[in-house]
Subunit: 364 residues, 2 copies
Amino acid sequence: MSWTLTADRIAELARGAAVLGTGGGGDPYIGSLLAAQALAEHGPVTVVSLDEVPDDALVLTVAMMGAPTVMVEKLPSLEEVIAPVHALDTYLGRPVTHVACAEIGGVNSTIPVAAAAALGLPLVDADGMGRAFPELQMVLPTLYGVTASPLAFGDEKGNVGVLNTADNHWTERIARVACVEMGCSIMISGFPMSGSVAREALVPGSLAHCLAIGSGITAARAAKADAVAATVELLGGREFFSGKVVDVERGTTAGFARGRARIDGADSSLDLAFQNEHLIARSGDEVFVTTPDLIIVLDAESGEPITTEGLRYGQRVRVIAAPSDPRWHSAEALAMVGPGYFGYDLPSHRFDGTAERVLEGVTA
Amino acid sequence: MSWTLTADRIAELARGAAVLGTGGGGDPYIGSLLAAQALAEHGPVTVVSLDEVPDDALVLTVAMMGAPTVMVEKLPSLEEVIAPVHALDTYLGRPVTHVACAEIGGVNSTIPVAAAAALGLPLVDADGMGRAFPELQMVLPTLYGVTASPLAFGDEKGNVGVLNTADNHWTERIARVACVEMGCSIMISGFPMSGSVAREALVPGSLAHCLAIGSGITAARAAKADAVAATVELLGGREFFSGKVVDVERGTTAGFARGRARIDGADSSLDLAFQNEHLIARSGDEVFVTTPDLIIVLDAESGEPITTEGLRYGQRVRVIAAPSDPRWHSAEALAMVGPGYFGYDLPSHRFDGTAERVLEGVTA
């Protein structure tokens, strides 16, 4: 069933995207500014479910690539957002019919809204991850054999490139060094898929889910209910830690925002490690949750999601674990997005809704 | 007047290219292997003078990009050489009609021969520099407003990209980081030009000149004459130093072979600084020749050119200065290829055939 996305929903979409971004994906606020502008200029966007996409459609993902720390300082123009799509149109020799989100976290939930509005195309209610991940090959379509390339990229200076690579990891490698050289933040479009492939390879319903999470926080707050608990329920997750941010180490290296944060609870400390997104949550040697499952930091009072670049000393936070799309737990998927890929010599600690120990200080 | 380039001339072309490469441009031997193979498989190449290129021709340069230190270990296949040309064919939507050399030094004098043979296209007797330079925007066409992009690049793994950039410096920047990521050596094709623009912007007759230099060394050696003197005469240059290589510092950084060499003469030492190509020749504070004029190191006995990566302790060498194409001495050109661009706080010391002091130990 198709529905219409209007400008008044963008703030809630962005809030949900900050939750699903698991700390990364870029601050959705900048994407929401652009989406609101595009909807104001070009009218609302039609969101179609995967079921409604014709088999022979040409679906492309549209995304911002780069370090979130830099993205927040470089709001792209609408022209910049759609330039890679036009480059692919030309390269493929046929018109794009649908826009999709590569990831449903962070800025890349709202940027495709802006693209769809500016292009006058429907947006698919789906995404490639069900969350956010830091590298472009880290989407379920890669597991289904969908090639990232031809993938186009562009920047605010008018530079545009089209890559056709040996595999999706090479698309990431070449686009990433270009991204760093071009100022650590570029627009990309790629993963051309037919409707039938998109139906198989994407996560269905993620835009609606993201909106529900965002509006759930708003509604809980209005009702003076616990917004964190509302989010936990929508995610099928669990709150497993609460405390005060006491230490944040953050650097922008090789095109990523990498770092770690420490949160002190009543009796113990939680260490979070991130590369754009939160990857590992542990206390001393005890590991609680790891990528690909979701680690989400929320403001303890308001339930507002906090991105890794927004973490500050003294914040009172509550930390949620939630299950990822189950397809991320296959051996092939874990090789791509598991702890080992990011350099952690740890098995993946799968969140199943019951196995996580609830630590001290949790109020819900 | 057109002429035919056959496999038996390739060794001499490569030798001349090592002279005009001023130490850089990659070891022409690896390009000569590929050119000989292409001529054997596809037959001889027709070389046409710039006068013969139709006004509406589509001329493209074909070149290898990367660190010469790496190029010598990565002989490309013919498929790899022509893949970027095919990518541009498709991108431009019309067939390429002529191949041209971006530079007449090093591997990039013989690689276009291989490309022309494999593509069945005529090769233009011209190049973009009249020598070799380390960065891709450093061609006379840049001064005539010819855009490097669309520029295509490709590697041995099957990765291909097409860039359309804001200016030629951005083409260099993005292609260079891609090149480094792809293993420090890639094939490129770009600078699409009409015949009339090529006539204005390229250096005419450079292939024939290069062949004459190479065969001049061979002939002098056969006649037991001085091969260095023969080269000096063909270049309109001057031998200004001779001695023994006593020190070579060389590193491959940011995609370039950078370093310096010291040559001890009878009473003084000559210091050469290079970035792929020789840039500066000086003795203490006294500067003798600088980029864009040519600094060429030849074996003292055989007159064989020595590339910067071929410099070794103990070699007895003679050093030549020769004038570049005069267009390289405009203020705009010097901003692009003069000593200052490479980080040397020196005025350009123009070689005029008489101004250079002849130092001790010179035998000619």
